[in-house]
């Protein structure tokens, strides 16, 4: 077989690089054109940085053209590339480095920033290709070491990220959740496994903390209660507010709850799981602490694939170490009392019997709140409560527009089925000592009942009946230590006493609104 002539070898070994350089120069030119076209807006937004970006992109374009010219000259001279794969490795390293720099310095992701960054990265690649020949003067061992070490480092980063995403897809876990997961994905990630035992009670086939669900038959009464971790509950099933309500109401109250979700996911649960059961009443359990304000960062945004890799909170390699560090810190604060982080006392224990008396002896804190062990450390709990108070009770709160939009969508989805809201107060609104600590740490003027005042008014104006639990909870007389003890210790969720109040109030309310 005849060997290719030197010129043919040069063409074969250099054509891919030529194409990549041409593409890179086009990216730099596009980035420069975008920067210039938007310069009126970028001047106030970027300030002096604009005068680094525009020359940077111009230099990138010049480097791209220069590298292209050098490469073409080498082809014409018939100089084959000694290592045809080296520029591809170089390109990979440049792209991964640009990815890391983008995550570290250019957040949040915007398409314009991406175009500018890509133009600069293309310039860096062109610069390295143009410098290939001068760099050949360095010792070959040093070059090989640099080449292999940077390539291995970058390949490892990409591989780890891909592996973490693979694991996240196969084994849903809050540790591997990515901000911006669409409602359906979020539900699947946080939903309990069918049969998963909590406080001795197995979740049903849909992963809800309740018995199996059946569609309502003619003449039957049925309530569907939709919510987040309050519905998942921090007590055995018999003590849960939906079970208390069921006993008081004398008809099934289905408990559709998934921890860590919010109004957009309630809408999905309503449409996909509650409405097919044809309930006579749907109750959306809205927790004042975290259901009223949530970022709508994903709504209608383009470039989903790019966002998935270039938005810091969606890159597992970036978020998982931080989450692990937080867990380790919380574990350190809890000292010797080791148990799973963010897990309620007794949640993972298997009760050996299911009668009320045996459960009460297995979980003695159900009847005696003084035996409750805190789920969070004191600083972590206070920090969380203070943040929630600032988000919802500041005299000028953040907008509730996302919540209002989701509620209107739920009302439309429920059509003729009555839809109500049960407003669940935060602990700082019920316990005076928590409120005192929150006010002391907030550093801003707070109105304790502001969320209820605003949201209940809005729901009323929009024809959505609302059960506000706050008055009933405040009406509970304090125990001997001056506290009402309606929430599990430093957990933010109802204990048995809180569930009883909520269940009884819900039964009274449901009776008046059920179809």
């Amino acid at each position: 077989m005849a060997l290719p002539r030197p010129s043919a070898a040069a063409r074969i070994s250099r054509t891919p690089v030529l194409l990549l350089l041409a593409l890179g120069a086009a990216c730099s030119a596009y980035g420069l054109a975008r920067a210039l076209a938007n310069r009126i807006a970028l001047r106030p937004v970027l300030g002096p940085v604009l005068w680094i970006v525009v020359p940077g992109l111009s230099v990138s374009l010049a480097l791209g053209l220069a590298a292209l010219w050098l490469e073409l000259r080498s082809v014409r001279r018939g100089e084959p590339r000694a290592s045809p794969l080296a520029p591809l490795r170089m390109l990979f390293v440049v792209l991964v480095a640009a990815w890391a720099l983008f995550l570290a310095l250019v957040q949040p992701f915007q398409r314009l920033w991406f175009d500018l960054a890509l133009g600069c990265a293309a310039g860096a690649f062109a610069g390295l290709v143009a410098l290939e020949r001068p760099l050949e003067r360095l010792s070959s061992r040093l070059r090989r070491f640099g080449d292999l070490s940077t390539f291995s480092l970058c390949a490892s980063a990409v591989l780890i990220e891909l592996c973490l995403r693979g694991v996240a897809a196969q084994v849903p876990s809050p540790l591997l959740a990515r901000v911006g997961d669409a409602p359906r994905q979020l539900l699947e990630r946080f939903r309990c496994r069918p049969g998963e035992v909590r406080f001795g009670f197995p979740c049903n086939r849909n992963g809800h903390y309740d018995t199996e669900f059946y569609r309502r038959r003619e003449g039957e009464r049925l309530v569907a209660s939709i919510g987040d971790s309050f519905n998942l509950g921090a007590v055995p099933h018999g003590w849960h507010f939906t079970t208390v309500c069921e006993r008081n109401l004398g008809c099934p109250v289905y408990n559709l709850g998934v921890a860590g979700i919010g109004p957009p996911e309630y809408l999905r649960l309503l449409v996909d799981e509650a409405m097919p059961l044809d309930p006579g009443l749907v109750v959306i359990d809205v927790f004042v602490g975290n259901d009223l304000t949530f970022p709508e960062v994903e709504k209608g945004l383009p470039d989903a694939a790019l966002r998935s890799w270039l938005e810091r909170d969606r890159v597992l390699l970036w978020v998982v170490p931080q989450r692990l560090a937080r867990i380790a810190e919380e574990r350190r604060r809890q000292g010797d009392r080791w148990r799973p982080i963010a897990s309620v006392q007794g949640e993972r224990e298997r009760a050996t019997a299911d009668s009320q008396a045996s459960l009460e002896s297995a979980f003695p804190w159900l009847t005696d709140p003084s035996l409750e062990a805190g789920t969070m450390s004191e600083p972590a709990y206070l920090r969380l409560e203070t943040r929630r108070a600032l988000e919802n009770c500041s005299v000028d709160p953040v907008s509730f527009s996302g919540f209002c939009g989701a509620m209107l969508a739920m009302k439309r989805a429920a059509a003729s089925t009555p839809l109500c809201v049960m407003l669940i107060p935060d602990e700082f609104q019920v316990e005076d000592d928590v409120w005192g600590a929150v006010r002391a740490g907030a550093g801003a003027e707070l109105e304790r009942d502001r969320p209820q005042r605003l949201v209940a008014g809005w729901l009323d104006r929009n024809g959505i009946p609302c059960l506000d639990l706050l008055p009933a909870m405040r009406a509970v007389p304090p125990m001997t230590d001056g506290k009402r003890h309606l929430y599990h210790l430093r957990d933010t969720h109802f204990n048995a006493r809180g569930n009883r109040v909520a269940g009884e109030e819900l039964a009274r309310f449901a009776r008046a609104h059920m179809r």
Binding site: A37, N38, R39, I40, P44, L301, D396
Partner: protein, 158 residues
Amino acid sequence: MLDPVPNPPVSASTCRWIALLLVLAACAKRDEAWLAELSDPDPFVRALAAIALCEQSPERASSAVPVLLDTIDRSELRLRPKAAAALARVGGHVVDALVRSLVRDELMTAERREAVLAALVAAGPAAIPALRTVFSHPDPAVRDAAGEALRRIENNPR
């Protein structure tokens, strides 16, 4: 004696500057392009268009006011101070829109209210007649905000 060679009317360096300015002018977007981008689905593109419109044509910025207010509310865009500054820049041209936003938004964020007040103050005495119309509004928070704006305008005579 030979006549001295006359200098060319425009030097080579001036030609280069003119060429550069022509390129820049060709790249720049017109008001119509910015106005069209005010309804882009991407909130960042909308925000940039609104800020650019305030820079380029303050007299046409009234349609940018809702986008600027939305940008102030959307902390994830991280353009809050820039949007507030743009609003203050065009305050005198959009007094009515600013006063309307005070009246309409019951659930207004502190940042938005502060930006609207700052823009009204930047508008100066031109904002006083519109602010006076708000004194009969049923919401005390709106009346307070209008009073606060008037007080600041009076304390900052231009």
